[in-house]
Symmetry: C2
Subunit: 100 residues, 2 copies
DNA sequence: TAGGTATATCGGGAAAAGTCGATATACCTT
DNA sequence: AAGGTATATCGACTTTTCCCGATATACCTA
């Protein structure tokens, strides 16, 4: 776990918001046709639409969050689904409580 | 609590390190003449020396951490002592566990 | 194979953060 | 009051981040 990389990933309003959305997908996204976002996540297009930024920016943001370990992704056909990685948040929460 | 401001404050190697030092001052700093760092904190000069950056940079960093709520400061004579604000870390740890 | 859709990557211009040296401020001592 | 020490603030330069448009890649369907 590279905490510095994680904190950098969290240092952006839109990226923070995306994480909040992905915490409760059913409250923030329309139901998807080919995937249950409870288990596999939400596709890039839906996140992009909600964020109101360009596709390239949102794709960048998601891969940044994934590189930091906060998100996981699954490719299914032409879609990439992103979802929270709960373990990372627990570890980070712990780091904050015990190390700094 | 402005989480975005907090995460920005945490997005720097030296600032993260300062927080780790201030978590256990007795393990990282020499005893001070005029103050007990367990209660009042560590003065800027000692932190600067350990960080190896200029005085102005470290002063900036400390005030940034304080603005974010992570540190508290006390002025005594010509010294300013900085110490952890434990409540802020608990709140942040909680935010990470419950909101994102 | 050709065209359509979803996502990723690349290159760049603008804005913000990192870090410094110089200077200002505050306080202490004589 | 004058000089010394500790910290804060300012201005500038460099590096990084933000966010875009354009293009590439991957996959699907007819």
């Amino acid at each position: 776990m590279d905490q510095l990389e994680i904190f950098k990933a969290l240092s952006n309003k839109t990226r923070l918001q995306i994480l909040q959305w992905l915490k409760e997908p059913e409250n923030h996204f329309a139901k998807q046709d080919h995937a249950d976002f409870e288990t596999i996540g939400v596709c890039v297009g839906q996140i992009q639409q909600k964020a109101g930024l360009t596709q390239s920016t949102v794709s960048d943001y998601l891969s940044m969050l994934q590189k930091a370990g906060l998100l996981e992704s699954t490719r299914v056909g032409q879609w990439t689904y992103y979802r929270r990685n709960p373990v990372a948040f627990e570890a980070l929460s712990d780091f904050i409580k015990t190390a700094i």
